[in-house]
């Protein structure tokens, strides 16, 4: 359940931004969870309101978008979605690939009041 720790990181970051922006309350947060981020969507959605309690993000709506894993192949140049969990080019099956998305968890935007 490292989702609790990651949710706490998110809440801390949101609080900092809200302070900087002079906002009192965070109404809504949009995040994107990558398929290879190691973060479970449900566990994260469960943890967020709990760690947000008592701060500016309390009661904030959490919108989670899932980012599929996308790799770019150095062998054939194709940009494909690998057949999870194998991290190989879906076009030519080469393992010489660079991950272009789906590896991390990001804050896309927030709505403040």
């Amino acid at each position: 359940m490292h989702e609790v720790g990651i949710a706490a990181e998110l809440v801390a970051q949101l609080g900092e931004i809200a302070r900087r922006e002079g906002a009192e309350r965070i109404a809504r947060v949009e995040i994107r969870i990558g398929a290879l981020s190691g973060v479970d969507r449900e566990a994260f959605a469960f943890a967020f309101p709990i760690v947000a309690e008592g701060g500016p993000a309390q009661g904030a709506v959490l919108d989670i978008e899932e980012a599929p894993l996308v790799v770019e192949c150095r062998a054939c140049g194709a940009s494909t979605r690998p057949e999870y969990p194998f991290i190989l080019c879906a076009a030519c099956e080469s393992g010489d690939v660079a991950i272009v998305s789906g590896e991390d968890i990001r804050i896309i935007a927030m709505e403040v009041e």
């Binding site: 309350r25 194998f86 935007a109």
Partner: protein
């Protein structure tokens, strides 16, 4: 309250409120339709939907009905930014001190501590080592690793299932003493959580014992993809198990095709020479850089 977005809008609602300047707002909500009467005869209706555009729908609203302006801030930043910053600090500090750090990650019971015991014994006098070992509780591992010529510190993470960069950073000055060239971080036994936290290491090393399933790399691809080195441990037990070593190698390569695979038994010493050689080369390369 709306179940989907929690915006405080019921299915049907009429709400009247007044701005400080006396403008009257009449809000009418009818199952998804959101209408505002601005008190001057102008009425606009927009859909109250629950997709991403929903935020946009509110951008043109002057207020949320309580006189508070709502605005959208575009960010696109990493959630673990703070940990990443701390990890970068650690990485720079280690580089400046000519130290290579490796982050050992595996399930509990894969043989990390015994491997470390033997490693410290074998590197003694050749490569100066230091160890940070993480567990939820007890300093048993630190005690097992003590007295082998390397400074050892135990981090008890308590409720947490992984080490973070800040915890590691707080120990660096103390643990990396004169002559230390290799810092081995033994993470909390867990294949999921530690993979998400960069500690500032040179790279991660995944360990997998032959008493586990051959397909573990496929079940936990985040870690096995992230680790350019994978060590298969306890190979002395192979004759007693139905563990298909070749299938396991294929699984590791499936998520990390360019992986360096090492197979060893810390108990019998089989394969240890290649592991020690790898660690020596890693520290020598850092010295030259």
């Amino acid at each position: 309250m709306c179940r989907d977005c929690g915006c405080g809008q019921p299915d049907v609602e009429t709400r009247v409120d007044a701005d400080p300047d006396g403008t009257i707002h009449v809000h009418v909500e009818i199952s998804g339709l959101h209408a505002h009467d601005h008190g001057d005869g102008r009425v606009h209706v927009h859909e109250h939907d629950h997709v991403r555009e929903h935020g946009h729908a509110h951008e043109h609203a002057e207020s949320d009905g309580l006189g508070r302006a709502r605005r959208r801030i575009e960010l696109e930043s990493r959630v673990l930014e703070r940990n990443d910053r701390e990890a970068l600090k650690n990485r720079e500090w280690l580089e400046a001190h000519g130290v290579v750090a490796v982050n050992l990650i595996s399930s509990p019971g894969s043989g990390k501590t015994l491997l470390l015991e033997r490693t410290l014994e074998m590197l003694r006098g050749a490569v100066g080592c230091a160890v940070i070992t993480g567990d939820q509780s007890t300093d048993n591992d630190a005690r097992r690793l003590a007295g082998k010529g390397a400074p050892v510190v135990q981090i008890e993470t308590h409720a947490s299932c992984h080490l973070n960069a800040e915890q590691v950073g707080a120990q660096l000055e103390r643990i990396v003493t004169e002559g230390v060239r290799l810092l081995i971080i033994e993470n909390v036994g867990n294949l999921v959580c530690p993979a998400a936290f960069d500690l500032g290491e040179c790279h991660k090393i995944a360990l997998l014992s032959v008493t586990e399933g051959e397909d573990k790399p496929l079940k936990y691809p985040v870690l096995f993809h992230d680790a350019p080195v994978c060590v298969i441990t306890k190979i002395d037990l192979l004759p007693h198990l139905e563990f298909d070593l070749e299938r396991c190698r294929e699984a590791v390569r499936g998520v990390r095709p360019d992986v360096t695979l090492l197979e060893l038994s810390a108990r019998t010493g089989e394969g240890m020479a290649a592991w020690i050689d790898y660690l020596k080369r890693l520290t020598e390369r850092a010295q030259r850089a």
